[in-house]
Amino acid sequence: MKELQDLTRKLLSDESVNVVIGYEAGPRGMRPAFITSPEQASNLVFNIHCVQNLATYLNPRRKQITQLGKAAVVVKGCDARAVAGMLREKQIERGNVVIIAVRCGGVLQNPETDSELTKETASVRCASCTVREPKLFDHIVGELPPEPPVNTHRVEQITALERMSSAERWNFWTEQLSRCIRCHACREACPMCFCVKCTAEKTQPQWIDPSATPFANRAWQTMRVLHQAGRCVDCLECERACPEHIPLGLLARYVADAVERRFDFTASDDPSVAAPIGVYRTDDDEEFIR
C-alpha cells in the first residue's frame, strides 16, 4: 500500500502525470479515485474489494477524465488486458499513459460484502486467471499474494446450460433478458466498448429497437457480445453494472471459450498479438458449414 502511495506521490510531484486513477475507500466499499495532488495520495488503497476495471477511464470518450491530463492507472492483471486491448485498437497511445500494475491475489465477487476470499466469495473471473502478475506495466507494486480460491460457479452454470435443450436455453435467456431495461449500462461500463456511435443507437437503418422488448433485448445482447468476441477481457464490469442482475458474464465467458476453442486465442496483456476477428487462418474450423 505504502509502495503504491509513494509511487503516486512521486509521479504527481515530478509532474510526469497529472492524475492517478486508483482505488479509495468509499461509503459502499472501494470506489475509483482520481488523485490529482500528491497530498491525496494517502487515500489510495488496494485490496480484495477493488473489483472495478479502471482501464475503462482511459477511454478517450470519457472527456471529463481525459481533460485532467496525462493519466497513470492502477491495474490488476485482468485490467491490464483491457489496457492492452485499447492499445491494440489504437484508442490510446502507449506514451500517453503510465501503467501501475498491482500483483493480485484475487478479488471478491460481491465487493460490498465484508468477507474473506473463499471458494464461494471469490470472483468467478479469478477462476481462469493467468495474469496475476501482468507483463504490461511501467511500474509494478506489491508482493505476489497466494493464488485465490477457485470459484467454479460460472463454469458449472455454463455446463448446465449446454446440457439443456434448445427450448430450455431459449426460455432461460428469455426469462433473464425479460428484465433488461435497455439502459445500456453494460456498454457504458465496458472498457472495450468505445465506438463513437453505437449500432444500437443508429436509426437509419434501425438495427435494434431501442425499447425494451423481448426480441430487441435479445438482439442487443447478441450484438454486444458478438462485437466483444476475441476482445472481451472478462472483467465482468458489464454484469456488475447491470441494474437487473442479468448474468451477462455467462455470455462473455461462453464466447471467450468458443474463441479459444476455435481460434486458439485468449485475451492477453500483450498488445502486439492481433485479435482473432480481423485475421484468419486458411485451416480454420468449418465443421458447421455445409
Partner: protein, 153 residues
C-alpha cells in the same frame, strides 16, 4: 379468429426462409439451379450480397425479427472468394455466431451455413430443400409466436 379458421391457417403454414448469398458463387449457383429447372421448395427468398463477408450477424437477427423461420447464409468455397479473403474472415465471424445462437437457445437447424459454388446448382437445390424441410419440422420461430399471441411484442 375462430378455432376452425385458426386450424386451417396453421395446417397451411409453410416456413419463410431467407437466404443471404454472395453474388459471385452462390447466386450464380442458384441461378444455375433455376435454369436447370431443378425442383426446389418455394420457401426461400434470396437476397444477393457482394460477398459472404458482407453478411453482418445483424442481418440474420433482423430476418428473424421480421418473421423468418430459417436463414441460409452461403458464399464461395474458401480459396475461391472473388475478393480473395472475404469468406475466410466471414467464416470466423460465422463460427462465433453459430455457437452463440445455439447458446442462446436458437435451434442449430434454423441457420444453415453453406459454401455453394457457381457450378453447384445441385448442391443449392439440396441446401434449399433440406433447410426448408428441417425448418418445417421445427415449426415457427418462437419469436413470431410471441408476436402473434399478442402477449409480447
Amino acid at each position: 379468429m375462430s378455432n376452425e379458421v385458426e386450424h386451417l391457417v396453421e395446417s397451411q403454414w409453410s416456413p419463410k426462409v431467407v437466404a443471404f448469398v454472395c453474388n459471385w458463387c452462390t447466386y450464380t449457383g442458384a441461378d444455375l439451379a433455376g435454369t436447370s429447372r431443378l425442383k426446389m421448395e418455394p420457401n426461400v427468398r434470396v437476397i444477393k450480397l457482394p460477398c459472404s463477408s458482407r453478411v453482418n450477424p445483424l442481418f440474420i437477427i433482423k430476418a428473424f425479427e421480421r418473421g423468418a423461420d430459417g436463414v441460409i447464409v452461403s458464399g464461395c468455397h474458401t480459396g475461391d472468394c472473388h475478393y480473395s479473403t472475404g469468406n475466410y474472415h466471414a467464416r470466423r465471424r460465422f463460427a462465433i455466431l453459430h455457437d452463440l445462437l445455439q447458446f442462446m437457445g436458437v435451434e442449430e437447424d434454423r441457420v444453415t451455413f453453406a459454401w455453394v459454388s457457381a457450378s453447384e446448382g445441385n448442391k443449392w437445390q439440396q441446401v434449399v430443400n433440406e433447410t426448408t424441410a428441417r425448418v418445417k419440422e421445427l415449426g415457427r420461430f418462437s419469436v413470431l409466436q410471441e408476436h402473434e399471441s399478442g402477449e409480447l411484442r
